[in-house]
Symmetry: C2
Subunit: 151 residues, 2 copies
Amino acid sequence: MAGNTASKGRPDLAAMIVPLGRALVAAELPVLRRHGLAMWAYAVLLRLDDPPVRTQAALARDIGADKTRIIGVLDDLEERGLIRRQPDPADRRARLLSLTPAGRQLRDTVQAAIQQREERLLARLPEEDRRGFLNALQALAALPPSEISGA
Amino acid sequence: MAGNTASKGRPDLAAMIVPLGRALVAAELPVLRRHGLAMWAYAVLLRLDDPPVRTQAALARDIGADKTRIIGVLDDLEERGLIRRQPDPADRRARLLSLTPAGRQLRDTVQAAIQQREERLLARLPEEDRRGFLNALQALAALPPSEISGA
């Protein structure tokens, strides 16, 4: 996407961020593979740690996954004892998804390995820039995408 | 990609950066559309401002585009008088690509509009974080992707 150099001043944000995101995803893959997790499966494990996600459809929406394709991911995670699907007593049609203790443990292990790599990368930056980078990223990531694209 | 929340500490970098990159690309699209430029065309205009790119293949590699698909983009930019393709006197088989003055002007106009939007977004951040974010991004974007994925 978008080139990487400006005639003067800084490169465009997207031109720096998109390739960086791609490289960071590539960095996660060997860790995930080692634990038998696809990227979407990892996204599910991370998301389920949040306050209850009622329906599979809501989960799919939250992580930006295709609603039909996520079913296979959930089936697999359930078979491996990493998540639970239970009928919602308040709504027969809805199913409550949650992490099992094994799911939580796997997620923590994988996330620790991923973040350990990331910290090695961040350690190349001066302390001030590292702090500013993480603060800014967390603030920007918390904005609804429409506020960024319509900014 | 990867979910967006960690049980404790910070979210994974990819989980913050990938959706942010997507939103920033979406923010560029209306600006590019207004100037009749596809994303790849804009990438070409940005890249050609650098020291001479000898061949179309080298340009495609530099911007991460498909070698065959970029031909149509270059044809279109040439027809619109935004780039020039000239035979390389030193190598008959190679063609030298360069920006025309009109190409440079269009690129500057579009980039200024894109960065103006970006600055409005960055203005939401405290000054320190904004500076740290831009410093860190430029440092990380300058690393070869393999250093990030293998970090």
